[in-house]
Symmetry: C2
Subunit: 199 residues, 2 copies
DNA sequence: GTCGAAGCGGAGCGGTTGCTCCTCTTGAAG
DNA sequence: CTTCAAGAGGAGCAACCGCTCCGCTTCGAC
């Protein structure tokens, strides 16, 4: 592992400025174009050279990971705050998905990373989200507005699925994906339906 | 457009053999690795050289289109036959999704192409599928087992979405995506739920 | 069997992309 | 102000990928 950042000598002022510029530009570009962008474009938009970029982030993957962690963490914290500030369990659950899809799902790279959560190694992203979803699930099930056999994992996978849907249709004509969301939410609330299949 | 294949002089025997080998190998590779594969690998697995491959398919896109059309058409026809051979509208609809996801969704390139159906120009793929879905929808709604405000477009988008989900979780542990399917199907059947949002 | 056209193969071209190397610049400690 | 290590920058390398070009092979009509 790398040296602990807090014990490492602080960056020079210009280096700090450049690092911030890179992060800002990269966030923008990755949201727009997904993780397949040319690193040169990120450097250009940051106003720094390739050398500088690679000094701060030794690998494209490092850069990607940093951006993704920042975005994901900020959003997961907002989601937790929103969930905690609502008493109605159903409204909390539905508001969570609505907000998640309306904001986070516009970030192409984030949605792509979501896919890797299942097929590849997951960063601590999932670790942040899981307790929020788990809380929402428990409250909704206690209130009887969520079928009893739905797991937190189901909710997480549903989020990934719907995020991809938003990517497909774009954020304009949001009503298209909102219809899919409504269908899924009604399915989650179908407390009298057939039991969900298991292993 | 190209010359009508039926009026074109028939291929030499070896050329015909090679063409078939290319199609077979390409179908395999595209199903496994998606449309991003190196053309060299397709050539290698077919046992032909690059020149031969590009003689039969002047562009990677041409090859892709050919394979996708074959796969998609074969599957859409099977789906129509299955739908026609079932009297129960609910069973027909649910069987359609079950079969679609269990088979077609394992073909990576096909699922990827599905995404482009919404964001880019669509081949006649959609044209083949639409009437089948439309029929399934009408029958189910007449029988009162499908909420009245669901459109054929909703069903098509749901198919694309769930196909992607299957890709995420893989065909092993199929029960994971089957749970998502169950939730969606129950949502579709929620005839007393809130109306779906519109434009 | 002969021969010409159709077909074959694969080295290689041009473009892209992740990353490095090395020279020049600049912040900040003394 | 001086000094020098930390930092900046961008040309260029290596790998990859879609596609082409051209000399060689093979089919099949006669």
């Amino acid at each position: 592992m790398a040296t602990d950042p807090s014990t490492r000598r602080p960056l020079r002022a210009d280096a700090e400025r450049n690092r911030a510029a890179i992060i800002e530009a990269a966030t923008e570009v990755l949201a727009e174009q997904g993780s397949a962008v040319d690193v040169r474009e990120i450097a250009q938009r940051s106003g720094v050279g390739m050398g500088t970029l690679y000094r701060h982030f030794p690998t494209k993957e490092d850069l990607l990971g940093t951006i993704l962690d920042r975005e994901f963490t900020a959003w997961a914290c907002a989601a937790r705050r929103a969930a905690d500030s609502t008493d109605d369990p159903r409204a909390a659950l539905e508001g969570f998905y609505e907000h998640a899809l309306a904001t986070q799902a516009c970030h192409r790279a984030v949605v792509e990373a979501y896919g890797n959560t299942w097929s590849g190694p997951s960063p601590d992203c999932t670790g942040l989200l899981h307790p929020v979803l788990d809380d929402l699930r428990a409250r909704a099930q206690d209130a009887g507005v969520l079928r009893a056999d739905v797991t937190t994992g189901d909710l997480a996978l549903l989020l990934a699925t719907l995020s991809h849907t938003v990517q497909l249709v774009g954020d304009h004509c949001a009503w298209v994906w909102r219809r899919q969301l409504r269908i899924a939410l009604d399915g989650l609330g179908a407390v009298h339906g057939a039991p969900l299949p298991t292993a």
